[in-house]
Symmetry: C2
Amino acid sequence: MSKKAPIDTRGNIIDTAIPLFAGNGYSGVSVRTIAKLVGISAAALYHHFPDKQSLYLAAMEQAFADKAQAIIKTLTGPENAWGRLDAFLADFIQLMGEDADFRALLQRELLDGDDARLQLLAEQVFREPFEAVSVLMHEINPDIDSHLMAISIAGLVLFHFDSAPIRRFLPGGEQTHDQTDVVFEHIQSLLHQALSRD
Amino acid sequence: MSKKAPIDTRGNIIDTAIPLFAGNGYSGVSVRTIAKLVGISAAALYHHFPDKQSLYLAAMEQAFADKAQAIIKTLTGPENAWGRLDAFLADFIQLMGEDADFRALLQRELLDGDDARLQLLAEQVFREPFEAVSVLMHEINPDIDSHLMAISIAGLVLFHFDSAPIRRFLPGGEQTHDQTDVVFEHIQSLLHQALSRD
DNA sequence: GTCTATAGCCTGATAGAC
DNA sequence: GTCTATCAGGCTATAGAC
């Protein structure tokens, strides 16, 4: 594809920055720290990005890239509504469970993101799958507010992973409780009950 | 109660620090900024707290104080199980909806808290109500894993508020969708369906 | 494209007067 | 209990050599 597969310093910087920003937040990571981990000086980093904000934005875009597409496929598959719900749930839970950086960056954006960044995030990542989930919810049970239900599903999945650090100190908190298959089975049966039309 | 109701500088510092830490995170707030807002110098602040970490911890304890007790009352009330679930939901949603600082500090602790702080938070705030919810879940439907269900309820409630910043940019996002009564009605009917024994 | 050196500012924290 | 002055070091970002 590209001309000669040169050593991609810019890409290295972004890949190094993603877990750092995810773990420590924007103001918790210095340009020096990122540069040192990449193996270059801070001044060299400024050759690839005009400022820290731009680097952060590039790291975000990289971390969020292609997440939407993977989900949408299963949401618009050939199966019936319940089958698509299960397939979506499995994929969504799998994706969230394996990418802690994505979850952390999302939570940090919800806490600290300005309107411009949040709008970008909404339109380039969440809008399409969110709308597809809403449509699916309406198809399964039109009596339920599909927007509220889509939010509920996201909250359910995310919190089973995001709560892991504190669950260790709560009664009955077992290690299995944030394994993707355990979370899937729980949320699946919860939603099947909740969405079934009497 | 206390001796003479003196001007409580220490309390002022904490009350000033809470919304700042909630909004900007630990490393996003400087001691100088807090001091300036209180109306004293940074050096004066260090007369009341040995270091920034201690101030942060004191602010956390203040922000989380008494939250647990308010919830536990409704969980152990005289009503039947479904009545207690509804009462708990109403109180929990009300409490989370009105205290954005609490939610932000909790999310930030889940992201950045070390083991010691998380353990403190778990034991002094969440353990009791969490256990009470678990017991209630088991009473309502013993076929469901009560620990997973308690986590699910927390995730449901929290995310309906925490997602507000990005919901504005998603289709069908109306302002009413994070009003406490709308959230309550949605989660209540969702849980009634999900927990009912066939 | 990377380096060293550095400007200019902000940081947490302290010393000592009042 | 609060102040001014200050320290030592970290921060983002730039200048200029190679």
